[in-house]
Symmetry: C2
């Protein structure tokens, strides 16, 4: 009987361990936040506010593109994947360019074939509010010859960092922060009047 | 009377705003965790477990020093600032070297003259456990001709990232994670028998 109990406990532990192994996951369908993209090889830095809508398959970024000392432009980009349209909006002179968007919409997610590297706490787990439980993932996008490292929150599957590498681009790093659930104003996805 | 009430409310708001502005702070006196130090200019990477004791002014690091492909050594370092002694411990062949330690002990803290850049949330503030409130600081250590960027947790003043720059070294990045309050085993600060 004791042996059977130990067997059951071991099985439960296995089950718990199995259940605790983080699985690839998707971020919520609607969220907003800020991001910083750094491409060290091109000395390119992009600091932006972004809005993401997986239901309507659309994204919007507004931010500063820094390409060198004193070289900063404020650019807005609206990506409407269902309409295959991309708008680049230059607010300083109220001009706009529309281009075809052939890339498919990609959900913000951990790809199903991503390798789970491990779990860690940013900050501390010793007291509430002192730390954030995060998962580290890596993998390859074979059709693009790319490798990636991805850090997501354990709760919510939200992006923290993405490192993306191809032989052409080298490593490009994007960090996400100040994320909130939902879209404050859905009009941000509507190109401004002067784009017509 | 209404004017006075508005005045009081405004004063309270000023007080609240003033009170909310993060102040330079110090990390707890005893903690342990992990760190990754990357020195891109030297292709040097150090992944270590660390223990920190500000009462006894001592630190201990054990980790992998990666200086190139397939070039990894496990090294332990014990820094006893009160005894002005530094031990480098090579576990693979049980050897040890002791050197004088002239550097003064430095608390893990935000220096009192650090500039507060802003507050941000790693992850999301929309749900519990999805985010971590962090503060961004920067400053200079004039006597060392160094600049730094520092990210700490708002609660607990724990280090998240330190970027340190001198003209000799370039940028060196250290990221901290898996921090816990206290020291699990104080014996980690005692050099092993074979160091005698």
């Amino acid at each position: 009987m004791q042996g059977f109990t130990v067997f059951i406990i071991c099985c439960s532990l296995l089950f718990v361990t199995h259940g605790q192994h983080p699985r690839p996951c998707a971020a919520p369908p609607l969220f907003e936040g800020r991001l910083v993209t750094i491409d060290p090889s091109k000395h390119f830095e992009f600091i932006a506010a972004f809005s993401y809508d997986a239901f309507e398959e659309r994204e919007r970024l507004v931010g500063e593109v820094i390409t060198g000392p004193n070289q900063t432009i404020i650019v807005g980009t609206i990506l409407l994947y269902k309409q295959h349209a991309l708008y680049n909006i230059f607010y300083h002179n109220k001009t706009c360019s529309k281009s075809p968007l052939s890339a498919p919409f990609r959900r913000v997610e951990v790809p199903h074939d991503a390798h789970f590297n491990g779990q860690f706490v940013i900050g501390s787990s010793s007291a509430p509010g002192e730390g954030l439980l995060a998962n580290s993932w890596s993998g390859e996008v074979k059709e693009q010859g790319a490798r990636y490292h991805l850090t997501t929150t354990e709760i919510g599957c939200l992006p923290i960092n993405v490192l993306y590498h191809t032989n052409e681009t080298g490593w490009i790093v994007t960090s996400y922060y100040d994320i909130i659930d939902g879209i404050k104003d859905p009009n941000v996805f509507v190109p401004p009047e002067f784009c017509k």
